[in-house]
């Protein structure tokens, strides 16, 4: 980008311009955009509203691009303002913007937030509309992947239920009214050092926001900043290097799916399992109360009740130390001893990590073990915290609640948080809010908290606002907007915080940029565009971060920090069941509850959609006479909530797990009424686990929508050789055994002539040893291919529309919970060369392409469903009703323009992202070359954190996919049917500890039974 003229901000009669725009809606307006753009008023307005794009991203290409964005957003404003868009004449560009070629997307780097931490993303933008999110390969927490929630961010942007107007007690107000209200509140607070002011945020890693808060707290020293992260802060987590670790012990840490570094960890962990024949594999032990993705793919897994985990960690520590040998009373002493021995044997190349939801004692033990093994600095680094000010969230919130009850809080500013819903029940937060005189809420939705606040400011979606954030390792990312705010009154947290300072009406862009101008110093003009382009601020390190001083800040790298204070040990009151709280793997603490993509995404292990449940081990349920769908009353510490039961193999005995984020009342049309509110029985002193739970039957039942039945089916899966799993020793001995499990008919055993495929033959390989079952591929597919959300009732009927699903099969002996394991198998269309679907379609709506794709011609399909019946993989999906939303204007903006939007009565299916293939073909053709290997990445492939999916041309023996398929562990699903699938799998190879192999053997025999 070249430096251009910097246009100074000019004060203009904004109202006048707005009036002018208002009066120019519809027909007149659209036609006069070009004229308007040339008037000085309009240019001024432009700079005022979008100074960033207009002045600073200052090459001509950028400016024109921005006009497109501007046009789209103004058009939207028109759409929102009236029910039906009047007829308009579409005028082509007189001079088309450079680079913005219609039909060719542009990508911009920014970041998504997970508990306040950044995961780098690249956002695909079609003519100013962000449509799809990809990972940023240059970002350390992404490496090119995103998680499921990240994929759904783009839906969050267009969610029609988002809050759209600034309101005071429910009445629409102007931003200036809000500023005035803040000014008068500050006038009262200022002389009193801000003693009545409280600011409540979530975890903050944004250096700019931290600096703003520091400024406010500097001005008003008696004001307090509280933080509350309902899904659990990750501030205490060390940085792990899984690529260096040969033996890993996870103490209830779901590191492949949960946490700000999960994408990187999943990548590093599975990288060591990709070439089991050639490279030594790592080995993973997991101890956990409730089955997580990590536990389910572990080499060894021990389900323990939450109260037993600390004892187990002690036993391991003791076995490693000079102290007394492990007490025999530990429930899994032998297990602990074997693990300790294995860890000891790999001292310096082993890793012990404790989960976010474990009490400080367990974290301290993990750290002690790592130190003793010499792992610190090798496989694990204890660095300074990345969060601006790590606090114990529940304690911080409790302090605030106490202050509110005591009447010490006069002004409460809540930024992005929703404590009225998420606060543990014992704090009675919502009731306490009544005592605060002025309550201000900034949020994406008019949620439970907004309803209790005087002022509600609609929050600008992170894809519409300037901000910044840091990743788990401290890397900073500038978050840039992809589109002007869809709703005019939307503001970012920076802008609302600015209202509490001496310069109240500043734009987010100015705030962020000014901060970085100071940080980056003289080199700013060169480094700022670079940082925006790359998605990371290069050369900016932790040391220069301006975080408010805290106690933990003093801890340097490699030294032992004080134990994290994320949670408190559950009081060991005996009797009853133990209760475990977890944030939902997809909707988190409930913030994504209104995103249908995530609600409908089957949970990795339970395969439940749209509801949470009381998860309980089958044996425990049987003892209490409970079965799936029974509604029980959970009685815990004097509070009760009703929950449906779901039995889950691998769950620790006498332990009930409930997920947070459900039971919302003001989430929006999608999220309201889904599930039950687990925080109704949650207490702030033991936010993650506790004992003394009673589950009483109510006699009611509630149908839960699961996409997969279980147990009865899993034994059948073994005899059909669907999942093939061997140990690393077996694989070394008999590598051919995997392929030989079924007989593959000869290629010419068909009545029809064999096809030849040229110039390319597309194929896919999915590594089951790498898949962790996170389902990010499924949401990526939904986002890429305009797949509709169907809702709970339709899922319960078996009509979910996901083109790609991740099948889960349990293995192991139900009597021995430690042998239970899940196997995840992503299942897109197999693109069979002898496709059974093609032969039976009466109207030839599904046909084979000359490159081997099994094409579905939506226009031709009349919907007999014969193809789906005849598909042995059941990967076809039918629009039984009009599932697609054809009317909501904002949702139309999200759609991928390269993929048709299907209507009712039509069959649809995975196409290997044919639109991406065609895109690459056109590019290659224009450049006069062949399509390169790796140039076409399917949506599922590019999002996969573990690179389990590889796609390419199998005509080219050197392509990545061909090399993968050449491995001995490559096998085709149901190959005996002679379907000749193009999608094949790499078998699982597990690396069990021979000392614990008794249970491993039990697992293996069951599995191959």
């Amino acid at each position: 980008m070249s430096a251009g003229p910097d246009v100074p901000a000019v004060r203009v009669d904004l109202g006048g311009v707005r009036r002018r725009l208002d009066g120019a809606q519809g027909r007149t307006y659209w036609r006069s955009l070009e004229e308007l753009a040339r008037t000085p008023e309009f240019l001024e307005f432009l700079h005022r509203e979008f100074p960033a794009q207009a002045s600073e991203l200052d090459d001509p290409r950028g400016r024109r691009e921005f006009l497109t964005v501007m046009g789209a957003s103004l058009a939207l404003a028109g759409l929102v303002g009236c029910t039906k868009q009047p007829d308009e004449k579409i005028v082509p560009y007189v001079q088309p913007p450079e680079q913005a070629v219609p039909g060719r997307p542009l990508f911009y780097a920014t970041a998504m937030l997970d508990r306040g931490y950044a995961k780098g993303i690249l956002v695909e933008s079609h003519l100013g509309r962000p449509t799809k999110i990809e990972g940023n390969p240059d970002h350390p927490a992404s490496l090119g992947a995103t998680d499921a929630a990240g994929q759904a961010w783009v839906l969050g942007l267009y969610d029609p239920d988002r809050s759209q107007t600034l309101a005071y007690r429910g009445e629409i107000r102007a931003w200036s009214d809000f500023l005035a209200a803040m000014r008068s509140a500050l006038a009262v607070q200022k002389p009193r050092q801000g003693v009545g002011l409280r600011i409540l945020t979530e975890t903050i890693t944004s250096p700019t926001l931290a600096a703003q808060l520091a400024e406010i707290l500097g001005d008003l020293p008696s004001a307090k900043w509280h933080q509350w992260e309902p899904a659990g802060g990750a501030s205490a987590a060390p940085q792990c290097r899984f690529d260096q670790a040969d033996v890993i012990l996870s103490l209830d840490a779901d590191f492949v799916m949960d946490g700000p570094a999960s994408l990187r960890y999943a990548r590093e962990y599975t990288a060591r399992r990709k070439r089991p024949a050639e490279e030594p594999m790592n080995r993973l032990y997991v101890v956990e109360p409730t089955p997580s993705a990590t536990g389910m793919i572990a080499d060894h897994r021990l389900p323990l009740r939450p109260s037993e985990i600390e004892g187990f960690a002690r036993a391991v520590a003791a076995a490693l130390g000079e102290s007394a040998p492990p007490a025999g009373s530990s429930p899994a002493a032998a297990w602990a001893a074997a693990v300790a021995k294995d860890l000891q044997a790999h001292a310096g190349r082993s890793l012990v990590l404790a989960g976010h939801y474990q009490p400080p004692a367990v974290h301290a033990l993990a750290q002690e073990i790592n130190q003793r093994l010499g792992n610190v600095g090798q496989t694990v680094v204890y660095g300074p915290p990345v969060a601006a000010r790590p606090v114990d969230g529940p304690a911080s919130l409790a302090e605030l609640a106490a202050d509110m009850k005591a009447g010490r809080v006069e002004v409460l500013v809540i930024l992005g948080s929703n404590p009225a819903y998420t606060a543990p029940a014992d704090l009675a937060f919502a009731a306490a809010m009544d005592k605060v005189k002025l309550r201000v809420h900034l949020g994406l939705y008019e949620d439970e908290t907004a309803a209790l606040c005087h002022w509600h400011v609609p929050q600008a979606h992170p894809l519409e606002a300037w901000s910044d954030a840091r990743a788990f390792d401290g890397t900073a990312t500038i978050m840039q907007p992809l589109i002007a705010p869809l709703y005019e009154s939307a503001r970012s947290a920076h802008e609302v915080l600015a209202a509490l300072t001496s310069r109240p009406d500043r734009k987010g862009h100015d705030i962020v940029k000014d901060f970085w101008r100071k940080e980056l110093g003289a080199d700013f003009d060169r480094r700022w565009p670079r940082a925006l382009h790359d998605g990371v601020v290069a050369g900016w390190t932790v040391a220069t971060a301006t975080t408010p001083a805290t106690a933990t800040d003093t801890a340097g790298p490699g030294t032992a920090p004080s134990p994290p204070v994320a949670a408190v040990t559950p009081p060991a009151t005996g009797g009853g069941l133990e209760l475990v709280f977890r944030p939902d793997p997809y909707i988190g603490d409930g913030r994504y509850a209104n995103l249908g993509w995530l609600q409908e995404l089957p949970r990795p292990v339970t395969k439940l959609t749209w509801d949470n449940a009381a998860l309980i081990a089958p044996a425990t349920a049987a003892r209490r006479g409970l079965a799936n769908n029974d509604v029980v009353e959970l009685r815990y510490r004097g509070r009760t909530v009703k929950a449906p039961v779901w039995t889950l193999p691998g769950q620790a005995e006498e332990t009930v797990t409930v997920h947070l984020g459900y039971g919302r009342t003001r989430a929006g049309r999608v999220g309201n009424g889904a599930g039950f509110d687990a925080s109704a029985i949650r207490t702030s002193d033991a936010p993650w686990a506790g004992s003394g739970l009673e589950a009483a039957r109510t006699g009611e039942t509630q149908v839960l929508a699961s996409t997969q039945e279980h147990w009865s089916i899993d034994a059948e899966a073994g005899t059909r050789h669907i999942i093939r799993s061997v140990t690393v020793d077996e694989y070394a001995k008999e590598p051919e055994a995997i392929k030989e499990q079924t007989e593959i008919p000869p290629r010419d055993m068909t009545l029809y002539p064999n096809n030849t495929f040229a110039p390319h033959a597309w194929g896919m390989s999915i590594d089951l040893n790498s898949c962790v079952g996170c389902n990010a591929c499924v949401v990526a597919c939904v986002a890429e291919n305009n797949i509709p959300v169907v809702g709970r009732e339709q899922v319960a009927k078996g009509r979910e529309m996901h083109w790609l699903r991740v099948d889960r099969y349990f293995s192991g002996n139900p009597e021995q919970a430690e042998t239970i394991r899940a196997h995840f198998q992503p299942l897109p269309c197999m693109q069979c060369e002898n496709a059974p679907c093609e032969q039976v379609c009466p109207v030839a709506a599904t046909v084979h392409s000359d490159e081997g794709l099994n094409d579905q011609v939506y226009n031709r399909c009349i919907g007999t469903r014969y193809c789906s019946n005849n598909c042995p993989y059941k990967v076809r999906r039918f629009n039984f009703l009009l599932f697609q939303d054809w009317s909501t204007p904002t949702l139309k903006l999200q759609r991928n323009p390269d993929v048709s939007v299907r209507s009712r009565g039509v069959m649809e299916k995975c196409t290997y992202c044919v639109q991406r293939i065609e895109h690459a073909r056109i590019t290659a053709h224009n450049e006069g070359r062949e399509i390169r290997d790796g140039e076409v990445q399917t949506a599922c492939q590019s999002v996969c954190p573990t690179q389990a999916i590889v796609f390419g041309d199998i005509n080219d023996p050197g392509s990545r996919v061909s090399r993968r398929k050449a491995q001995h562990r490559d096998y085709a699903l149901l190959a005996e049917l002679n379907t000749r699938p193009r999608t094949t799998y790499l078998a699982e190879v597990r690396n069990p500890n021979p000392e614990l192999s008794a249970s491993a053997a039990a697992e293996g025999s069951e599995h191959h039974g």
Binding site: D714, Y809, V840, N870
Partner: protein
């Protein structure tokens, strides 16, 4: 039964003693004509007709409502899903088509085989065929996701430059069923022409005379007419004969060509044809027994007719039972885990009640037909026929739904639960069937008058004179 050991047409025929059993004693040409035509031409319609027609018509309107809602809303109003992409729609289609089988069989094959006992039942059996095919036709037309595009199933020159996929059994179905419907309708209509003429001549109403006159197409009963008529009727019988086999064979291909365990079986064509005849005769009995009672047609549809139909049911029921047995055997003998599981799932899976009910209805109940007292008892036969009607429906349910609901990959297994609209459409088609049938018995001769006259004692004399 008429014995013709040498296969030659009789020249001078002394009525066989058993022949009388096809027609009660005492009837002559006049009484036969009088009795049958009076059913149509009588003044005043019996009350039971109004009651029956009213109920059927109301039920048929339920079907119309269901169809309207279906087109408005989509096939999602039914209980189908992935994996069970076909359920009530296709199973009821096959059920109705199967019922339609008896008509053609009686008209065509028994005609060619010179089974004279067919004479008194062929007319309404043919009518039943047509109405059953009409009911069946509702389903394939409406089960598609976009029924307004069904015409794409036909090979017609079009600007898209596209033909249907001739490899698909559904296309074969289109041809098989439409041919069958056409030939059955023609056959039925041609058989009616002489009787329309009789009604035209006997009616006292000018209006009826005009209508029947048009339908009679100028029939005057001349020798030339009779000659042409015989030739046409025989030709059509010859045409219809392969259709009896082909229609249900092709319908069975919808399944047998598929890859799904429980569908993919070579035994399907013969087993489907036998099942269709079984179902068809059961439905003929279901209709004939009340009809002869209500209209007092015991003289024409005698115990012997009923017994013969019972025998056919027994024979085809045994073939069907053999088919079930072979499916189980093949499941075991193939050593194919999918086939073995399919059988296990039918017998012990979530739909096991359907399977065992099917065995009771289709395998156990026809065994009572070995007993002559059951075969000659209207009540016994009616009960057996009702069991078969239900059993054949269950058979299609088991084939369509239980095969689909658990196929190859256990991850995609599911359950099918019929909805209100599934039932209302199905029951509605039964309403359509009976509506048409009540109209038929009111306005057309339910028994072929002129053919009955040929079995009146003495008819052969005329034959002798003529030759």
């Amino acid at each position: 039964m008429v014995e013709r050991p040498d296969g030659e047409p009789p020249v001078v025929h002394v009525p066989h003693p058993e022949m009388h059993a096809l027609l009660a004693p005492g009837h002559n040409f006049a009484t036969v004509t009088e009795k049958i035509s009076s059913l149509v031409l009588q003044k005043g319609t019996p009350l039971w007709w109004f009651a029956g027609f009213g109920v059927s018509f109301a039920v048929m309107n339920l079907m119309l409502v269901s169809i309207a809602y279906l087109v408005f809303k989509g096939v999602g109003i039914w209980g189908e899903n992935i994996p069970v992409g076909w359920a009530f729609d296709i199973l009821n289609f096959v059920w109705w088509i199967g019922i339609g089988h008896a008509g053609t069989l009686i008209s065509a094959i028994l005609l060619l085989l010179r089974q004279e006992w067919r004479t008194s039942i062929n007319r309404f059996a043919e009518a039943m065929t047509l109405f059953a095919v009409a009911c069946a036709g509702v389903y394939p037309a409406l089960h598609t996701g976009r029924p307004w595009l069904d015409y794409w199933l036909f090979p017609y020159p079009n600007t898209m430059g596209l033909w249907p996929n001739f490899r698909s059994p559904l296309i074969w179905d289109v041809f098989a069923v439409s041919t069958y419907a056409t030939v059955s309708a023609l056959f039925w209509f041609i058989g009616l022409i002489p009787d329309f003429a009789t009604l035209r001549d006997r009616t006292t109403s000018r209006f009826a005379a005009h209508v029947y006159g048009m339908l009679a197409m100028g029939w005057r009963g001349s020798a030339r007419h009779w000659h042409n008529y015989d030739t046409a009727y025989l030709l059509l019988a010859g045409l219809a004969t392969p259709l009896v086999i082909s229609v249900h064979t092709v319908v069975s291909f919808d399944f047998a060509v598929g890859i799904i365990p429980g569908w993919h079986a070579t035994i399907f064509p013969p087993y489907f044809v036998a099942g269709a005849i079984y179902a068809g005769f059961a439905m003929v009995l279901t209709l004939a027994i009340p009809l002869r009672k209500l209209y007092g047609l015991e003289d024409f549809i005698t115990t012997r007719h009923l017994e013969n139909m019972g025998k056919v049911m027994l024979a085809t029921g045994l073939i069907v039972a053999y088919g079930y047995m072979m499916e189980v055997f093949a499941g075991w003998y193939s050593g194919n885990p999918y086939e073995a599981f399919m059988i296990k799932n039918r017998m012990l899976g979530p739909y096991q009640h359907f399977y065992w009910a099917l065995i009771v209805c289709n395998v156990i109940s026809p065994q009572f037909l070995w007993i002559k007292n059951v075969r000659t008892s209207t009540v016994g036969l009616f009960i057996c026929a009702m069991f078969t009607n239900v059993g054949m429906w269950l058979e299609r349910f088991v084939i369509v739904v239980t095969s689909l609901h658990r196929d190859f990959l256990p991850s995609s297994w599911g359950m099918y639960h019929p909805t209100f609209w599934d039932w209302s459409t199905y029951i509605g088609t039964i309403g359509l069937f009976f509506t048409l049938f009540f109209l038929f018995v009111r306005f057309m001769p339910v028994i072929s008058i002129f053919e009955m006259r040929t079995i009146v004692p003495g008819a052969e004399v005329r034959e002798e004179t003529a030759s």
